[in-house]
């Protein structure tokens, strides 16, 4: 399993979706569920980091460009 830090946003999100679906289906033992859930939490955090980064880049770009606008 790929370390979380190396995952891109789409990979993290898709894996997160998969984790949620697996948990919703149920039928897993507690240990597996717990482990899955913990990875899900990390994936969600990774996704939020990616999104926060993206948002910042947009904001920065806009802030840099704005003074040039007529």
């Amino acid at each position: 399993m790929k370390p979380i830090s190396q995952l891109g946003y789409e990979e993290s999100r898709d894996e997160l979706i998969a984790v949620v679906q697996q948990l919703e289906q149920g039928g897993l033992d507690l240990d597996t569920s717990l482990k899955l859930w913990e990875r899900g939490e990390e994936l969600a955090k990774r996704c939020e980091e990616h999104l926060a980064g993206a948002r910042k880049r947009v904001e920065d770009a806009l802030a840099a460009k704005d003074p040039e606008e007529s």
Binding site: L16, L23, D31, S33, L34, W37, G40, E41, L51, V58
Partner: protein, 422 residues
């Protein structure tokens, strides 16, 4: 002296009385002999009648000053080869011998030589010169130099205070007030004329300012105009490099100078008209041309202005920024859309992640852990997976444990189950 009636010598002289008349033959013979003794004579007269026969010619020679005539006989050849064309009214000098014709009792001059007299001889000489100069090509129209449109200085050779001088100067000045003359007054008749006119011609021809020369003289008879038939003067005129206008005499005078000169003016006044343009007429023409030129130019400017205005009113020129503005707006719209989209995308993803997180939270033990519960797992030796600790017996002393709480996990080592002695 012979006497045909010598037999009657004893009586009264024959022919002196009616008793002793001479017969016609005796008289005629005596007259014939007498006239024959007169020998040859030179006689001048005007031809009053000319009657050509196949071999002889009969001429009635009349004295122009008196009503007297002489009949003349000569070979026909002599008339045809005469130095001037013989016709009624022509003055000639004849050389001949008087002869009495016994048959008709008339006297006539048997002529052996005919000469032109005075004017006739003069004209003859002039005619010879004319033919010579013509043969040399001095009258060739190709040699005629054109007159300048507006001469710097007009050379004028004319008699002192002559009508010709006044005419040329006055007419030229009335046409072109600024006209300048270099006037050389010379004799225009008499023995000094040719030499003086030639000197003046050379002088004016050498002057670089003079670019046309007029030789002007009023009318006169042939004797007065004679210098202008002179060969030296004609050759000098032909030699000049400056165009020469000859205005000698009046129509129909036709001196040789006129033929050699570049332009032949009928009169001094005519010469003035040839050498300078009519200032008033030229100015009127220039004014008219200026007016027409100006109008043409104004029309042209007007037309071009109109054209330009039309071009300028086209959208690309009238609003040159329109295209840029349109594109700029396009860019603005695209940028705004892109910003909207990226923001929306990020927000949508954020919602999605938030939603997933929420679902994850409800699926997982997070809520339970938050209330203070913990999940304990045995930490297995390498390779075997850990398991949730469900019974105390599963964690004998020394068992490595992982305790998961709400915000993380800690590891611990079991001291063994409580209350159970070893």
């Amino acid at each position: 002296m012979t006497t045909p009636a010598g037999a009657e010598m004893t009586d009264a002289e024959p022919g002196k009385s009616p008793d002793n008349p001479w017969p016609v033959r005796a008289v005629s013979t005596r007259v014939a002999k007498y006239i024959d003794k007169l020998g040859t004579v030179w006689v001048e007269g005007q031809i009053a009648q000319l009657n050509l026969r196949p071999t002889v010619a009969f001429i009635m020679l009349r004295d122009p000053a008196a009503d007297m005539s002489l009949s003349v006989m000569c070979p026909r050849d002599l008339v045809e080869n005469a130095p001037v064309k013989l016709a009624e009214g022509v003055q000639v000098i004849m050389h001949g011998k008087l002869q009495f014709h016994t048959g008709r009792g008339t006297v006539s001059l048997r002529v052996t030589e005919i000469r032109a007299v005075g004017l006739g001889e003069l004209l003859e000489r002039i005619e010879r010169l004319r033919k010579l100069l013509e043969a040399e090509g001095l009258f060739d129209p190709r040699l005629k130099r054109p007159l300048p449109f507006l001469p710097n200085t007009v050379g004028l050779i004319t008699g002192r205070a002559s009508a010709a001088e006044r005419d040329v100067v006055a007419v030229a000045q009335s046409r072109w007030p600024a006209v300048r003359f270099a006037i050389r007054n010379t004799a225009v008749q008499g023995p000094n004329t040719v030499a003086q006119v030639v000197d003046a011609l050379r002088e004016l021809d050498a002057d670089p300012d003079v670019d046309v020369i007029v030789i002007a003289r009023g009318g006169g008879d042939i004797d007065a105009l004679l210098p202008f038939y002179d060969e030296t003067l004609c050759r000098e005129i032909a030699k000049c490099t400056t165009p020469i206008v000859s205005a000698i005499g009046h129509e129909p005078d036709n001196p040789m100078c006129d033929l050699v000169a570049d332009v032949r003016a009928a009169t001094p006044t005519d010469a003035a008209k040839r050498i300078v343009p009519d200032a008033a007429a030229e100015q009127a023409m220039v004014r008219d041309l200026c007016r027409r030129g100006g109008r043409a130019l104004r029309n042209w400017v007007h037309r071009e202005q109109h054209h330009l205005d039309q071009l300028r009113s086209r959208p690309v020129l009238a609003a040159p920024l329109a295209a840029l503005t349109a594109r700029s707006e396009e860019v603005h719209r695209a940028r705004a859309a892109a910003r909207r989209d990226i923001t929306r995308l990020v927000s949508a993803e954020a919602d999605r992640v938030e939603h997933l997180s929420a679902r994850l939270a409800t699926l997982g033990p997070a809520a339970t852990l938050a209330r203070g519960y913990a999940v304990v797992q045995t930490l297995p030796a390498a390779s075997s997976t850990g398991r949730v600790l469900r019974t105390a017996a599963d964690a004998p002393k020394g068992t490595r444990l992982r305790i998961r709480v709400a915000d993380g996990a800690v590891t611990a080592v079991s001291d063994g189950p409580e209350g159970i002695p070893k």
